[in-house]
Amino acid sequence: MQYVDEFRDPDLITKASQEIRRLADPARHYRIMEVCGGHTHAIYRFGLKDILPSNIELIHGPGCPVCVLPMGRIDDGLAIAQDPNVIFAAFGDMMRVPGAHGSPLEHKARGTDVRIVYSPADALELARKYPEKEVIFFAIGFETTAPSTALTLMAAKAEGIANFSVFCNHVTIVPAIRAILDSPDMRLDGFIGPGHVSTVIGCRPYEWIARNEAKPVVTSGFEPLDLLQSIVMLLRQLQAGEARVENQYKRVVPWEGNSAALKAMAEVFELRPYFEWRGLGFISQSALRIREKYAAWDSEQRYVVPETRVTDPKAAQCGEVLKGVLKPAQCKLFGKECTPEHPIGALMVSSEGSCAAYYNYEYRKSMVARVSSVA
């Protein structure tokens, strides 16, 4: 834990790690999934693995929106963007994600009008500024970003801005957790629940996991102490044979979520019957589409979408890594063909992807250790 002293309450961190050792039954092997990619990043960055006893295994979940987006959706969005009258606006996180015919940045280099925006509100601002152009906002993200897209669409409708539309790729976290629990090769003891997604949806949507699957869920903050406390809370429940939803991140996550955000999402979006997830396949009712009353602002209604389906490179094992069946370094391409500089799969692109996190912290560290031991 080389970084913990940068943080508040080092004494509490020591206490939490002692408590984890006291609670963990040496005869058991615990498999705990952190659902959110932000947690994955923090776990690697702070070296939490090094202070957990070896029988507590953290499995990295599907909560990285860039990572779970199938390549075909990127190609679909970029296909519409080939129209010279279109401005294609997307978050910076998307820019280096490879599509079958190149990433958005590579398309930009070839002359497509691709722009980075940091907020959907800014994509709408582009539409106001260039009334002669058609602005398409390529929306991605879980419930953390979906309400912002919803409010932006409501503003577009209220102002009657006709040259703006959204290519909607928003997904919802709970069906993905369900798909993982249904997967026959997956055995889990409990979940570290997402932090920021829960700010929006609250804690109730996880109750079925406790009730029907008898697995505890603790929504968690992102600091080392938050994560360790969440593991303590999970172990206490497991020791007592309980399965409840608990909220470790009360300072940000209200139990009932953010009602204004939920209201905006319900106004604009409805569930798609099914949606493809990279690595997890088709999951029913796992994504959002734009309701009929906003059809004029729905890129999928306004343009002809090729509905591209791209099979991931065979050697890349993104799916197994995404489901937590394989560790990043067990993929055949990890650190060889696939690196953060030359990513083949999306898990290597985003800093929240488990492959990039593993590469940047664990792998580089072991390389340095090897080089210095040789020297």
Binding site: A42, R115, Y118, S148, H196, A260, A264
Partner: protein, 106 residues
């Protein structure tokens, strides 16, 4: 995109629906406040911002810790790039090269 950026509300803009000015480590930018309409922040309140929208109110201490967390995760530069990008004055409105994570792309 998934970054939660802490900012202090320094101004509520009159005549614009649910828009405020936040300050994030000295940089001032426009943010949308519509997701906090049930509990509108006042000038001086701290908020967590996602993609240009304030999502929750937090304490000043938690805002400081969030900034330290972003520092530790190596995401401060990216967060500040994001904040500077709100409101189009920086990157989105340029048809030319873009900068991303400190690198320039033509």
């Amino acid at each position: 995109m998934c970054l939660a950026i802490p900012g202090k509300i320094v101004e509520l803009i009159d005549g614009q629906n649910q828009v405020g000015i936040v300050e994030v480590t000295g940089v001032r930018r426009k943010v949308q406040l519509g997701l906090l309409e049930d509990d509108m922040p006042k000038v001086g309140d701290w908020v967590l911002i996602h993609v240009g929208f304030a999502m929750s109110k937090i304490s000043e201490r938690d805002a400081e810790e969030q900034m330290r967390l972003l520092t530790a995760l190596g995401e401060v530069e990216q967060a500040m790039e994001e904040v500077r990008g709100y409101g189009l004055e920086n990157s989105a409105d340029r048809a030319g090269p873009v900068e991303l994570n400190g690198k320039r792309y033509a």
